[in-house]
């Protein structure tokens, strides 16, 4: 068994009081009694072999509810990542979903000699500024839209919406022709080697173009570029800012105005954007910035937001489905016409759940925040 001393120190798991609050609020534990964050820590600290081959470490959604509730800020999600990394290093093979398509694409993307053709979707009316040292990080949206086309998923609509909003707000930026996947999913499932390959390839690309600022939309990309890259590769000297934190102040100062939208809307806080970066109000301000929007809250919102049940394209099972079902029913209960989210993964996972034969909340429309806001511009 590997020595995880550094990870144990960094995640502060020794501060665990054994109170079990983490397990009470955990969405996975709610449906799978065998998943127990408190016990996972105990087993590992006990030093016994009980934690090797512990299959339950793969069930965590990384939703951070445990971290939110823990009185001592034990970084359980990071601890899970450490355990998974250890397992992969000692030969465990990750049970990939979707046949491993995403992992295969991510691994190939990291190759230094790859020359992608990934911007063909860009509409002609979007203005790019060649000399800008700011780049908009598109993320895996082009790949998602191919793989999940049968779910009616169009994550690129959100990306295009984001670009239109930036244009309207007068913020200059360019795109990267050979941008790689940020690597967060590989990091999350213990494939550190895969993550580092992508990170290094991206960093090389950023440095080659003299990038000084990156605007993200996907919250996971945001976390990866802002937190994980410096953690793994040292200070990257690039400012990373999320679209919502860039645009919300401009709405307040009236430098950006959106069009009307006469709809009753409920907003789903993505775990990483909400609990991760405390960006609860900014997305809501973008929604209420559209005249006519009636915003209603679900039973679990803001820091209590219920996860969309996403796993990093691995180990997806009935627990994910049950959590998704619960979230969709919460949305339906608000009687909102549209469920809005600001994360492509949330969109994909919730739409996938709606396709289930026995989904009880398949009717509610799911839309992307930036896509919706950008569409309102035409109605001004």
């Amino acid at each position: 068994m590997d020595n995880l001393d550094k990870e144990i120190r960094d995640t502060k798991v020794r501060l665990c009081l054994d109170c079990g609050k983490c397990t009470v609020v955990c969405p996975v534990a709610q449906y799978n009694p065998e998943f127990n964050p408190r016990l996972i820590i105990q087993k590992r600290l006990g030093g016994s072999d009980a934690s090797t081959g512990d299959e339950s470490i793969w069930s965590c959604f990384n939703c951070q509810m445990c971290l939110e509730r823990c009185n001592y800020n034990v970084k359980f999600p990071d601890f899970i990542t450490a355990l998974r990394t250890e397992a992969v290093k000692s030969g465990t093979r990750v049970l990939c979903s979707h046949g491993g398509s995403l992992q295969a694409a991510m691994h190939m993307m990291a190759r230094p000699d790859i020359q992608q053709k990934r911007i063909d979707w860009l509409p002609e009316d979007i203005a790019l500024t060649d000399q800008s040292d700011t780049r908009f990080f598109v993320g895996c949206a082009p790949y998602f839209d191919v793989i999940f086309q049968d779910l009616g998923v169009k994550t690129l609509d959100g990306v295009i919406g984001a670009l239109r909003l930036l244009n309207k707000a007068g913020i200059a930026f360019n795109l990267l022709a050979n941008e790689r996947c940020c690597g967060r999913d590989l990091l999350n499932q213990g494939d550190q080697e895969g993550f580092l390959a992508l990170a290094k390839a991206n960093l090389e690309e950023f440095n080659r173009h003299g990038v000084k600022r990156i605007i993200t939309y996907c919250p996971e990309c945001h976390d990866c570029l802002k937190n994980q890259y410096p953690r793994a590769l040292g200070n990257i000297d690039i400012e990373v800012v999320n679209l919502v934190e860039l645009l919300a102040p401009l709405l307040k100062s009236k430098k950006l105005a959106l069009g009307p939208l006469d709809k009753k809307i409920t907003y789903h806080d993505p775990c990483t954007l909400g609990r991760g970066f405390r960006l609860f109000e900014e997305p809501r301000e973008l929604l209420t910035g559209m005249a006519g929007v009636k915003l209603v809250e679900m039973e679990n919102s803001r820091e209590k937001s219920l996860c969309c049940g996403a796993n990093p394209w691995a180990y997806c099972n009935t627990v994910n489905r049950q959590v998704q079902e619960q979230r969709l029913e919460q949305a339906q209960a608000t009687e909102a016409e549209v469920l809005v989210t600001a994360c492509p993964k949330c969109q994909i996972h919730l739409k996938c759940a709606q396709k289930s034969d026995d989904c009880r909340a398949a009717g509610i429309e799911i839309q992307d925040l930036a896509g919706l806001a950008a569409a309102s511009l035409k109605r001004r």
């Binding site: 979707h98 992608q116 790949y143």
Partner: protein, 123 residues
């Protein structure tokens, strides 16, 4: 070691395999760089498997299956076409040449056809 391209052939157990067996019976040969992988039905070959073959540095990948309407399991072509189209879509984004992936349908027992096709693909 010849310089022939590595070709991974996913072949269905029924019509697809019959072409390879027919070729073998006539003692026709094909390069050693051709790797045959037998599956129960081509609809089993999802996008992830095709991409994995490329990740493992296959030069080309072929799906070799039944003549349409002759599927042993009576499965519609949709699944195969969908998986194939998704794989092509991902390859395009990755900048991989689309010729590297092909879908081949041969009549039952067409050994010569198999050899001809395979030699074409590894050139």
């Amino acid at each position: 070691m010849s310089n022939a391209a590595t070709l991974v052939v996913f072949v269905c157990n029924w019509d697809g395999l019959s072409t390879i067996e027919a070729a073998a019976q006539k003692r026709l040969t094909f390069p050693a760089s051709v790797k045959i992988i037998r599956v129960s039905c081509l609809s089993r070959v999802h996008t992830g498997l095709i991409l994995k073959a490329f990740e493992l540095d296959a030069d080309r990948v072929t799906l070799l299956g039944c003549d349409s309407k002759n599927c042993h399991f009576g499965i519609e072509e949709e699944l195969i076409d969908q998986n194939f189209a998704k794989a092509q879509g991902i390859m395009k984004l990755l900048g991989l040449k689309s010729e590297r992936l092909t879908l081949v349908r041969l009549p039952h027992g067409d050994g010569a056809g198999f050899i001809k096709k395979v030699n074409q693909l590894v050139e």
